[in-house]
């Protein structure tokens, strides 16, 4: 069994717990052991890195040093912000991978054969900023026309739609301080996905998920959008295709109901 270092970060223990559940579930299904870095700390995203240069460097450094001392040469950081902070720092002997790279590697290692449920969805792949940008961070993809999720989406029996907002901004960290702007930006992304004919938006970032999923409730309530559009993590989509229970993947925790996406409901 392959072993991979695992850095959950704060999101995956809180608002983005579905990402944690679904990543662990799909890793298990694929036969990969995720070993959590012991005594990990905050990656420094959002607050620390913009306020204090020392913390911006020291926090991810400590995590990387721990990983190295625990013999972890490759570490998965499913949260896009954690990935960006960790990989943007000097890495030493540790390779940091994001959720898109993780899914692609699982498919290559044989997960593709285990995806027996053809979902048949039209999907808008949403990368936001942190899974597309930073030329030295998100390597091997085109920042302006990212494609890193598409192979996984097709492997799940879905169509990756061409659409206009794949790497537009969701509002990011302004979720609390400038909710109005976040509503405007998220609405623009949702409108584009709907116009392209999407059944769901798939993302890999807890921040994007929260802005598109949680804030969508407000948009629905104010009738700024014609209806609810499910927002899934890429790991959830592959989990469903692998035949895993929606609840085991955390689908019951979304603000926008998404369990109806699987044929015949659940």
């Amino acid at each position: 069994m392959k072993t991979l270092g695992y850095f959950p970060g704060c999101s995956l223990e809180g608002g983005g717990i579905e990402l944690d559940l679904s990543v662990r579930a799909i890793a298990k299904a694929a036969g990969v052991e995720l070993r959590e870095i012991e005594d990990w700390n905050c990656c420094g995203a959002s607050a620390a890195h913009s306020l204090n240069h020392f913390l911006a460097v020291a926090l991810p450094y400590r995590v990387l040093a721990l990983a190295e001392s625990q013999g972890l040469s490759e570490v998965l950081a499913p949260c896009a912000a954690c990935f960006s902070r960790l990989k943007g720092t000097y890495q030493g002997g540790v390779r940091i991978i994001n959720i898109n790279e993780f899914m692609a590697s699982l498919l290559e290692a044989g997960l593709a054969q285990k995806l027996t449920r053809r979902l048949g969805l039209k999907v808008a792949a949403y990368y936001g900023c942190l899974l597309s940008r930073g030329q030295d961070i998100v390597t091997g993809d085109d920042a302006e026309d990212p494609k890193g999720m598409e192979a996984a989406i097709r492997a799940a029996g879905c169509e990756a739609l061409p659409w206009n907002s794949a790497n537009e901004c969701c509002g990011g960290g302004f979720s609390m301080s400038k909710t109005g702007s976040v509503l405007d930006l998220s609405q623009a992304v949702l409108d584009e996905a709907r116009a392209a004919g999407a059944d769901a938006i798939v993302t890999g970032c807890p921040m994007c998920h929260s802005n598109l999923d949680m804030r969508q409730l407000e948009l629905v309530k104010r009738r700024r959008v014609p209806g609810a559009l499910p927002i899934l993590y890429l790991s959830e989509l592959l989990g469903l295709a692998a035949g895993l229970e929606p609840a085991a993947l955390g689908l019951d925790r979304h603000f926008i109901e998404s369990r109806g996406l699987v044929r015949g409901g659940v």
């Binding site: 030329q135 085109d142 920042a143 302006e144 026309d145 990212p146 061409p162 206009n164 116009a195």
Partner: protein, 657 residues
């Protein structure tokens, strides 16, 4: 017995201010073998040269050292003076007391001592100089011009007008190049075809010009004055001698929907075609990749309808050798593929087009007859956005350099669009407007002030296509400091100018250098801008760097002048500073042959009188050798030496220090 004369120049105050020239000449006079040591204010002036000439004759000098400026400046002058006095010019050497001494030092005592050392070094060298004779090579007074665009046409016409023969080779079915595709030309807005097509006809009918279209250079042998170039005449499947250009064949050809390269893919052509109605020669070729007769053996319609029996499906590529004395490379450019810009649609948006596509839309002979219609739905665009620097000045995705012509043609596009669509809106995004040229800045001002083009300084970050077909262009207006969004119907990208595919391979055939972007390298960026490091090979047009038409034509004429200069004498005279192989010691290890950057070192068989090969050695072709000395430095048995810079001479210089 050596009798050396040393002549020290003050160069006005240039040398004299820092170096005690009288002390240098006095010290030189005491050096072994020196019989004359004098100094003078301006040695290069006529009285100065007279001193040298007089001393050579009166003192029977066997060698001369002039302590003055760099040999690059006046070696030729002083050697000519020595020759006039009857001394072999290669027995005169210069000690550089200016650039290497007085200009870079301030302490007089030290500078004077260094000057004395430099003179002693050259005295030691010149004692070992041998008389050399210039190398003479015969010249074949025919030029090869590669590329039939405006650069190649102009060069060919100028050489032909000078009374010399020209072979003009063009890879496409017609000459004319990109200029034939343009609508109107800046800064005068005269019609491109109107000024070009008469020259195309002239080139084709000129008695001194042999036109080879649909042909490419396959291989090159020889050297300046004596190249043998093999031309691949690609199969046309139409016999040009029989064809009258009536057009029956391409009017009947059932394979109709091939995107026409000439129209940037906006129009369509048949499998048998002439690229455009004014083509020269106006005779079709068959595009073998699309012809069902050639691919599957089915159809044959063109052969049936041809009244002259000119169609030949059995036609094959032929190789033809031409002997030429000089070559002009004029292979031109193409536009960079903007598919690399994902934010501009990655090449997938049909209404995001390049500059050539817009030229064809605006051209009276284009697929829309000169009406501006967008490709997706044929509607007249009411808002057109032009993006300058697409791929230029962007070393992350595109190219580092400025493509030079885009500022001007974008202004022209905006102007033409406003002339054709009166109510339309033309918005130009730019980084800088670089309109340096005669009448250029005025032209851009005219586009802005008289024709109402809206210039926005800033970059476009994204182009997306809305469901209703509008292109949403988002960018920054950096002068106003705010983001802008424009709903456009058509976007024209001013893609970077890049060399033609295959230009690097062609450069290698001719031994011409090219830069990291594939543009051909000139011999000197300022003083030898049309020559290359390969003797007898010249450059014209955008194969060297992005250029507009006036600049291309100027360079083509300059290249023609260089060719005519080369052909002015029946023989070429070259500096005899070349490598020589000592055949008695050469072990034929071939190290020099693989090291020679000019292909001058080669194998040579020593034969007896009966023609039997006794032994193989290395040999140096006098015509090709540039005297770089690489072969001498790699030779393990010291069998290669450089005339004028022999090992013995260099060692003597070092020992004299």
């Amino acid at each position: 017995m050596a009798r050396i004369g040393v002549f020290i120049c003050h160069c006005g105050e240039n040398i004299g201010r820092t170096v005690d020239c009288a002390a240098v000449s006095a010290a030189a006079a005491k050096m072994p073998g020196v019989v004359v040591g004098v100094d003078y204010k301006y040695m290069c002036s006529d009285p100065g040269q007279q001193m040298i000439r007089k001393a050579i004759i009166e003192q029977k000098l066997t060698g001369v050292v002039v302590g003055a400026c760099s040999p690059r400046m006046h070696e030729r002058t002083f050697r000519a003076a020595a020759a006039e006095a009857g001394l072999n010019p290669y027995l005169l050497e210069m000690a550089n007391l200016r650039e290497h001494c007085s200009w870079v030092h301030s302490n007089q005592a030290e500078a004077t001592q260094k000057a004395i050392d430099l003179v002693r070094v050259m005295v030691a060298k010149v004692r070992r100089n041998r008389a050399l004779r210039p190398i003479r090579v015969p010249v074949e007074p025919t030029a090869l011009v590669v590329g039939g665009g405006i650069a190649g046409i102009q060069a060919a016409l100028d050489i032909a007008a000078g009374g010399k023969k020209v072979v003009l080779v063009e890879s496409g079915p017609s000459i004319g190049g990109h200029m034939a595709r343009l609508s109107e030309t800046f800064p005068t807005l005269d019609c491109s075809q109107c000024i070009l097509t008469p020259r195309m006809v002239e080139a084709a009918s000129h008695p001194n010009i042999t036109l080879m279209t649909y042909s490419e250079v396959a291989s090159v042998e020889g050297f300046v004055g004596n190249f043998t170039v093999t031309i691949r005449r690609k199969a046309r499947y139409v016999d040009p001698a029989k064809c009258t250009g009536c057009g029956d064949c391409f009017n009947k050809c059932p394979i109709k929907k091939i995107p026409n390269e000439f129209d940037a893919g906006l129009g369509q052509r048949r499998a048998i075609y002439v690229p455009f109605p004014q083509a020269v020669p106006n005779k079709p070729v068959i595009d073998a990749a699309h012809c069902t007769m050639l691919q599957k053996g089915k159809c044959g319609l063109c052969a049936k309808v041809c009244p002259r029996g000119a169609i030949d499906y059995q036609d094959q590529d032929r190789l033809e050798k031409v002997k030429v004395g000089a070559v002009v490379l004029a292979t031109g450019f193409q536009l960079w593929d903007h598919a690399a810009y994902g934010e501009y649609g990655g090449g997938r948006l049909r209404d995001v087009i390049d500059g050539f596509a817009f030229e064809r839309l605006a051209s009276a002979s284009g697929p829309t007859g000169g009406l501006i219609k967008r490709p997706s739905d044929g509607k007249e665009p009411q808002t057109v956005v032009f993006l300058q620097c697409c791929g230029s000045r962007d070393d992350k995705v595109g190219k580092k350099y400025c493509s030079k012509i885009c500022c001007m043609y974008t202004a022209k596009h905006a102007m033409l669009y406003r002339h054709k669509v009166y109510e339309g809106r033309a918005v130009v995004f730019y980084m800088d407007v670089r309109a340096a040229g005669k009448g250029y800045e005025e032209f851009v001002r005219r586009a802005i002030e008289a024709d109402g083009a809206e210039y926005v300084r800033g970059r476009v970050s994204r182009i997306t296509r809305r469901r209703d077909g509008k292109l949403v262009v988002r960018g920054a207006d950096t002068l106003a400091g705010r983001p802008v969004t424009i709903e456009a119907d058509l976007v024209v990208l001013a893609d970077a100018v890049v060399p033609r595919p295959g230009s690097e391979k062609l450069a290698q055939l001719f031994g011409v250098g090219y830069d990291q972007d594939g543009f051909y390298s000139e011999a000197h960026p300022k003083l030898r801008p049309v020559e290359t490091a390969a003797a007898g090979v010249f450059l014209a047009g955008a194969c060297q760097a992005p250029k507009d038409i006036p600049e291309t034509v100027s360079q083509a004429s300059a290249a023609a002048a260089k060719v005519l200069g080369l052909f002015a004498k029946p023989e070429l005279e070259r500096e005899p500073v070349i490598a020589r192989v000592n055949r008695t010691t050469c072990a034929h290890c071939r190290a020099c042959i693989s090291a020679c950057p000019y292909g001058a070192a080669k194998d040579f068989d020593i034969v007896d009188r009966a023609g039997k090969v006794l032994r193989a050695v290395a040999d140096v072709n006098e015509g090709l050798c540039q005297g770089c000395g690489t072969c001498a430095s790699v030779c393990r048995s010291h069998s290669v030496d450089l005339d004028g810079f022999t090992d013995e001479q260099i060692h003597a210089e070092l020992n004299a220090l």
